[in-house]
Symmetry: C2
Subunit: 181 residues, 2 copies
Amino acid sequence: MSRPPVARENVLDAFESILIDKGERFATMDATAKAAGVSKGGLLYHFASKQALEEGLLARLDLLVQEDLDAIASAKEGVVAYFLRSSTTSGTPVDRAIVAATRLAQGGDAAANASLRGIREQWADLIRPHVRDATALDLVLLVSDGLYYNAALDGSGVAGPVPQASDLEALIALVKVAARD
Amino acid sequence: MSRPPVARENVLDAFESILIDKGERFATMDATAKAAGVSKGGLLYHFASKQALEEGLLARLDLLVQEDLDAIASAKEGVVAYFLRSSTTSGTPVDRAIVAATRLAQGGDAAANASLRGIREQWADLIRPHVRDATALDLVLLVSDGLYYNAALDGSGVAGPVPQASDLEALIALVKVAARD
DNA sequence: GTCTATAAAAAGATAGAC
DNA sequence: GTCTATCTTTTTATAGAC
């Protein structure tokens, strides 16, 4: 922990970017090394196998999510609003990590799947006290899932059909009314 | 069209099943041929390349979606309710095809991505007249996206965190109230 | 239409120099 | 820590018999 080598982080960044921009099939060791500006041997010094590389991504995801949970919990505008808004800001490190993990999970990576399931549970625990009942919680989480689903489909390409700016505010307002006591 | 060979359909079924059950990485030509009970050569007679196999899946998806759109449009219980309910029934042919296409899209298949985007637009056009405004439409579509996202994460394995049975009915009721005129 | 055998390419991983 | 070179395995695709 403490201070991970720069090159190691660069490799993770490159791996994550390829996953987001091109998809799981294109996120090979070769392509990752090239994008990170190192040789395959250089990459393998930091991550001894493809699985180690995937685990590295998931470990970093976990760190980012823990920070994000704190930010959600202490949001002045309210937990639900902040949570939904952060589900569409698809440029933050944590959002990128989630989309990358989603792509790994769809490829068949069981660990990525478990990570995403765990994150969703943590979100649920955080939001539950702020909504009326279990149905309202389902609503909030499913809208967030939907936002991430679209982010994952669009990669970092052209903007998808997901609401932005004022439309997003209107959506958040609607969900808040429907979900809150 | 008219009457596609049985073996061809078997191959598509096998390919789809592997995508759903194990993920895109495991859906190789070899694994597909084995699961379909044919040799690799036999498979290649029907689909001359991996891309042709993927296109075959997407072509079938398109057929199933057209049928599904008719069913949604004529649903007695209402378009929104039927649409949401059918977004969780993850066992119908059309739902399986959507989840399989989602996995291809996440792998980096541009055609699968375009198909899913087109389907979402068709859903939007169908539902738009039945909801209050653009925000309500966003809400309905995002909840559906969320349901599919969870279906795609869970594959056909153990039941995920998505509401079922009476919880689902409550959710549908909540969305209807929030979305309708 | 389906098979076996085989080629060709891509991906993951090892060895050892620097 | 990073590199090049090489090996192994996997995956896609071809050729041709039946």
